[in-house]
């Protein structure tokens, strides 16, 4: 297997150049391939229109909107507490993380702040939903590249995390647990010990995936040097999250902004990778799951006492004003711009979801790659359809 490595990448580039020459001479015709909306690699209903020359992409564009549910508009006819039930359906794999920035924005407008205990538990649940989200990515990565086994490991170990979230919130997928001023409930008895053992299992899972996929030569030859996003391009397209950090930009909202959450109480580091290719994106996510388990472990030790809810009125009216709060969600930066007109519900909400911006780079990135690499690149960019279409 010595052929795989840098030489392989060089020959790949050379093959691309050769293809271009041959096609001029033979006057071959292109073919338009519709990848999706119904396609196994699109995690739902993303449609990618690709113009192919043989198996090489000449031009490609994602066509989003097949699953648009109008959440921004729907929030206008909901009260503030009701909105969480909507927004945790945006990124359905890490639902709790969707609620947090919205509640933080509402709290900012009202001028209340959750109790330290509530902030702590919020952060723990936030990181648990990150783990639930990204661990499924790590399994799905294998399926996209043709390895069927890792996804079952991912589902097996994600189940433990979902059980934890269920124990704490009552909901596995849609917790709807965050409240303005705190949380609906305190943690259940035994949650802390259980979480510790689950975090251990998740670290084992990361090792498993690393052995099974990341160390595999075929996986490396399929991802290294494929879909390279340079630092400047990543910034220009507004990428966020692991996609940005994999391009070498050291930027993580958990660390870089002052926010009423408990990330600063734990000792962890932001993972970056200089390469910007598909492998880097996958690797960064793997390491972030590990860091998340470390964050959770440390926060479990230092949960402060006290209530989980401050006193807020029974019927919440949010004073007039505008607020923008974003957090570092599993998929990248997720933010809510909330406009309130001193009413029970928001006047207008703009949702900035990570995946929508992350896939905006797809036309730039897919130019000139081969069909199998489309799948690699889409898998490594990691989007969730609900997060694109909202």
């Amino acid at each position: 297997m010595t052929l795989i490595g840098d030489r392989q990448q060089l020959s790949y580039i050379a093959a691309q150049a050769a293809d271009a020459r041959v096609n001029v001479e033979l006057e071959t015709e292109g073919m338009t391939l519709n990848i999706g909306p119904q396609h196994p690699a699109t995690h739902g209903t993303l449609r990618i229109i690709a113009r192919l020359d043989g198996e090489q992409v000449v031009w490609a564009e994602p066509s989003a909107g097949y699953m648009h549910r109008g959440y921004e508009k729907l929030t206008e006819v909901r009260t503030f507490p009701q909105v969480t039930a909507l927004v945790n359906r945006i990124d359905w794999l890490g639902s709790f993380a969707n609620e947090v920035p919205f509640i933080l924005a509402a709290e900012k407008l009202m001028g209340v702040e959750a109790t330290p205990r509530a902030q702590h538990i919020r952060t723990i649940l936030f990181e648990l939903s990150r783990i639930a989200n990204v661990s499924l990515f790590l399994g799905d990565l294998g399926v996209q590249l043709g390895a069927v086994t890792p996804v079952f490991f991912a589902f097996r170990d994600r189940e433990y995390v979902l059980n934890l979230i269920e124990a704490a919130t009552g909901g596995r997928f849609h917790p709807n647990f965050d409240r303005i001023g705190g949380l609906k409930d305190d943690l259940p008895a035994g949650f802390i010990d259980e979480t510790r053992s689950v975090m251990k299992k998740l670290r084992n899972f990361c090792d498993e995936i690393e052995n099974l996929l990341f160390g595999n030569e075929i996986f490396q030859s399929r991802t290294r040097g494929i879909g390279v996003i340079p630092k400047e391009v990543a910034l220009q397209y507004g990428l966020s999250g692991a996609n940005l950090r994999a391009s070498g930009v050291d930027w993580d909202l958990r660390r870089d902004q002052k926010i009423a959450m408990a990330w600063d109480k734990a000792d962890w580091k932001v993972i970056t990778h200089p390469d910007g290719d598909s492998f880097a994106r996958c690797w960064v996510r793997l390491q972030e799951v590990r860091e998340s388990t470390r964050i959770v472990d440390q926060l479990l030790d230092t949960i402060p006492g006290g209530p989980v809810m401050v006193k807020v009125p029974k019927i919440i009216k949010v004073p007039e004003g505008e607020a923008w709060v974003s957090t570092e969600n599993p998929l990248g930066e997720m933010g809510y711009y909330v406009v309130s007109k001193n009413d029970q519900g928001p006047f207008r909400v703009k949702i900035r979801s990570a995946s929508f911006n992350n896939i905006s780079i797809v036309p730039w990135l897919l130019k000139g790659v081969y069909v199998p690499d489309i799948i690699t690149i889409l898998a490594s960019l990691y989007f969730i359809l609900g997060d694109i279409d909202r």
């Binding site: 198996e55 399929r222 199998p372």
Partner: protein
């Protein structure tokens, strides 16, 4: 089979028996491989149980599946070339039946005893490429077309290392007749010790590795499953097939896995035989008749071991890219097998 079937069996009855034997030789490995590996081993590797409801430990699941497929309507895409679309799976399955014809199952239990058996086997194994190309073209589907073209490129590229890997065995055995290759292995000796015969796995391990990799590619199993590539091409050339035509593709896939494993067992593991020294046999002539019953079982066991290898790799590895696959065939496998042939030839002359 003259001992089992006395000479007064009429020709039509012999033909019928051969057809039945062929069906058993194709369907039994396919069923076993599917149940044992696709259903159970894959499930255990993935920390789940697999089918458990139909029959004890889900052993009748395959019958349930076959029943389901047979009930389905025989549909074809509106713009497909109907005749070619319908005939393609049969062409693929035909190559499996043609392959099993030359496999020896026992000292007298064979369908035909070709002098150029292995040559014939390698030739007819590429008939399936035709079927796959026909399926890919006739489906009138872009994914199918891409899959079919990939399959053609891949299968043609991997014919060569397979042939070259076999040449080492042929040189060592001095014959292309599969029956004689079996006898040569079991009657042989290693440096005068004949306790294990001389299975070519030990001397032709490079050839064995190349052969198994080429078989993996020939069967379009992961990591060489780009023609199917369900995350890229939906199901490649099989995308538009459903019902019993899909079933035929399915049977052909796993039956061919079984038959190729049998051929590999014949070439490298001594086929149906046990080392002849155990029972004091010296040639094909003085083998006891019970080997016609036990021989197929031994071959079957060896086949299970080899399909286990194929499936193990299939469930563990991600898939190559098309250009990497071609590079691997031409830059690694073919040079390695050429060197293997050279070394084998030199050693053959030297000893």
């Amino acid at each position: 089979m003259h001992a089992l079937l006395a000479s007064d069996v009429p020709y039509w009855a012999q033909s019928l028996l051969r057809v039945l034997g062929g069906l058993v030789a194709v369907l039994l490995p396919a069923g076993t491989v599917v149940y044992l590996f696709l259903f159970k081993m894959m499930s255990f590797m993935q920390s789940r149980l697999g089918p458990m409801e139909a029959g004890p430990y889900g052993s009748l699941q395959l019958f349930a599946e076959v029943g389901k497929w047979l009930q389905k309507e025989d549909i074809h895409p509106a713009r497909a070339d109907k005749f070619l679309f319908k005939i393609a799976p049969l062409v693929v399955l035909a190559s499996t039946f043609l392959l099993v014809v030359v496999v020896p199952f026992g000292p007298d239990a064979w369908f035909t005893n070709f002098e150029a058996g292995i040559f014939y086997a390698l030739a007819v194994s590429s008939v399936s490429v035709l079927g796959i190309l026909i399926a890919g073209w006739a489906s009138a589907n872009k994914y199918s077309l891409l899959g079919g073209l990939r399959a053609a490129g891949q299968l043609v590229a991997y014919e060569l290392p397979m042939v070259l890997a076999v040449i080492g065995v042929v040189i060592q055995a001095g014959t292309m007749n599969l029956q004689e290759i079996v006898v040569a292995q079991n009657a042989g000796s290693m440096f005068g010790w004949d306790g294990l015969g001389n299975p070519y796995l030990l001397t032709q391990f490079v050839g064995f590795a190349v052969f198994m990799i080429a078989v993996q590619a020939e069967l379009t199993q992961t990591p060489f499953d780009m023609p199917i590539a369900e995350s890229e091409l939906v199901s490649g050339y099989m995308t538009e097939y459903s019902g019993f035509r899909f079933l035929i593709f399915f049977i052909a896939e796993f039956a061919t896995a079984g038959v190729f494993s049998m051929i590999a067992a014949v070439l490298f593991l001594g086929g149906w035989g046990v080392p002849f020294s155990w029972f004091g046999w010296t040639s094909l002539g003085d083998i006891d008749n019970w080997m016609n019953i036990v021989g197929p079982l031994i071959l079957f066991t060896k086949m299970i071991v080899l399909t286990f290898l194929i499936m193990w790799v299939r469930f563990s590895y991600p898939r190559f890219r098309e250009d990497q696959l071609q590079g691997f065939a031409w830059k690694v496998l073919i040079p390695v097998s050429l060197v293997n042939i050279m070394v084998t030839a030199i050693l053959k002359v030297a000893f």
